[in-house]
Symmetry: C2
Subunit: 389 residues, 2 copies
């Protein structure tokens, strides 16, 4: 179910990919508020720079797949303006109200001629049923479209919806994952509060996933609120908590879908660390394990090679005593006091599951955090050894 | 040529590997000084803990391959003592004069019975010609033994030698690389000076290589000086510089051999960064590029995907302006002001070489540093997906 007040469409613009949907548009026919979070990479793509300064006014989202429009030189900003203007003129909007996002190869100039030519049919196709097409148009190496939704269960009055769509499968790491995410709601929410809730929720979800430790130049997450179903503006308190919880549900689902679809991934592993001296050290430890090529190849090989986990923890920067570390795989007590506690075969069996949780207790303090990761397989190398060609 | 004053041997101790040399011994019949540097990992193997506190007295080096003796619990220190004592008693040494090093799987108890049983024949085999056997006995996933030597070209008097041997091909990253290195010299050098020269030289060589960003629990680098050829003790000044330069030559050669033999490696790439705000930021930038799975798979695919390099630089923590970045591949001007400057085909051709240098200029300050890395191939995943089985 899509929240009320929005339409979407996608077309084959032939910008780089041939004969597949590669240009998508979402429009808020009713607009109440918008917010976004963006990549922390020093090298930021032109659409990121464009959208950052216009996010609060964003009533439309134009997305292309195949060309990142990053590191494309002086003409890049102009191409953004041309893209936004082409859409805006047909929607009776100002170009500044059109948010842009791109995904694809860095350094290739955006094929803006193809984009502009495709605009009339794109706008014409806008409909309440266009969201499926949109979710497919934004894919690159993704193998499946990724969407999630939740009702916002307010205690009284109309219950608005939150719907989200995301893409991403490689160059995935905080902050942000290489990903694009677009979230729509028909609730109404005070703009500053919306931004703060979005950024906190992204921190707990999209910023806790990694495929390869690489952060992209293009990561963007937008939320648009129409206020159609529940026009009473949320300003804080219990209502904000309920909204935030529903948003978390949507972003958590999308981030799991991204990891499950990680390039070449065959296993999804949640690395939970507790007992660190601080939350910061817990996150360092979780990231070291979640990004270690040796740990990730062991996940792929379903090899209960716990020494690699200890070694990754040991170089993470977190302080702990190796002989106090406990590790569980789901409910299996695998490591106790830094030593193997179960039969090797039991650990191997536990790692054969497609999805499992590694719970690491450093027993050295109150700090905890987590990362979602996937394994490192032949196919990751294959996909990335030849992505451009 | 081996420096004078040393003998070596290796045997098949059948500790874990069957029917291959897996236990090696080097003895300084004349002893003048010793020094070492060790892994910075919080989780340190028992032989590291053993050798760290005994390094200055070390007159013998006992090394086993196949079992790391790391995270093996309370018995681990005892097994170290038993191992050292078994050798010492046959060499009329104190156990505290026997340095230990292990490489192999973490968490498997050391097969000390097999080790002790093999000691008599090991000691008996000690000879001036045992160094080849020794260099093969310390290998694990290494495909070739790695040795290097240099003369110390003093302006007058006898010219001593430096000889080194190393192993390592995965779990390689500063500080240190997962590697064992053993260096012998027949110069004499003041012990504190020797330690300082070794640690500075290791910092510039072994601590500038990475295969997979993982640092091991067992990394150790020892140097033993016999003083046989040149008994005049070096205490500083010009002689120390000459010695240091020769040592650098040996360690640099060994570290390049390690990268060339990196697990699954098909290309060796030197990542040089200059123009950073500081040396620290240059190193952050070089490490981000050298460890990025996306960059390393592009090296493997011989794909001139410079956007991935810019993206890795951008998330490295180094401060710079993306449109001021210049990158060369050897002598080819590839990127100028953040944009492609040569034909794509020329860059691709340059990346077909087995070994090349990426020179990155951030044009933002005086800081420079470098890392040596290799590509990420199918074989890396294959080797590490099944190493234990």
């Amino acid at each position: 179910m899509i929240p009320k007040g929005f339409r979407a469409a996608a077309v084959e613009a032939q910008m780089r990919y041939k004969n597949r949907l590669d240009l998508g548009l979402v429009v808020a026919d009713e607009f109440q508020a918008a917010a976004g979070v963006f990549t922390q990479n020093v090298s930021q793509a032109a659409p990121v720079i464009w959208s950052k300064s216009r996010i609060a006014r964003g009533r439309a989202i134009l997305v292309n797949a195949g060309q990142a429009n990053a590191q494309t030189g002086r003409g890049a900003a102009d191409r953004c303006l041309q893209s936004a203007a082409a859409v805006a003129s047909r929607l009776e909007m100002n170009a500044d109200e059109v948010l842009l996002a791109s995904t694809g190869i860095i350094g290739q100039p955006l094929n803006v001629e193809a984009l502009v030519s495709a605009t009339p049919s794109l706008v014409k196709k806008l409909s309440l049923d266009g969201f499926n097409d949109f979710s497919r148009a934004i894919m690159t190496t993704d193998t499946v479209p990724k969407t999630a939704e939740a009702e916002v269960p307010f205690e009284s009055g109309p219950q608005p919806l939150i719907w989200g769509v995301a893409k991403g499968s490689g160059m995935i790491a905080p902050n942000m994952a290489t990903m694009l995410g677009f979230v729509l709601t028909d609730a109404a929410i005070e703009p500053k509060l919306l931004r703060s809730i979005l950024s906190q929720t992204a921190e707990a979800t999209f910023n806790r996933i990694t495929v390869d430790g690489d952060t992209s130049t293009n990561d963007s997450l937008f939320i648009l609120a129409s206020g159609v179903t529940r026009p009473q503006v949320i300003t804080g308190g219990r209502e904000a908590d309920i909204f935030k919880k529903a948003l978390h549900k949507v972003l958590d689902s999308l981030s799991r879908q991204i990891i499950r679809d990680g390039e070449g991934a065959t296993h999804m592993v949640e690395v939970k660390v507790r007992g660190a001296r601080s939350q910061e050290e817990a996150l360092l430890a979780a990231k070291a394990v979640a990004n270690s090529p040796l740990v990730k190849t062991a996940f792929f090989g379903e090899d209960a090679n716990w020494g690699r986990i200890l070694a990754a923890l040991g170089r993470s920067g977190a302080d702990f005593e190796p002989y106090r570390v406990d590790i569980d795989i789901d409910d299996l007590a695998w490591i106790r006091h830094g030593l193997v506690f179960c039969r090797d075969m039991d650990a191997t069996m536990a790692m054969r599951k497609k999805e499992y949780r590694l719970s690491i207790n450093l027993n050295n303090g109150p700090g905890q955090d987590r990362m979602l990761t996937c394994d490192l397989s032949y196919d990751y190398v294959k996909i990335n050894g030849s992505y451009r060609s």
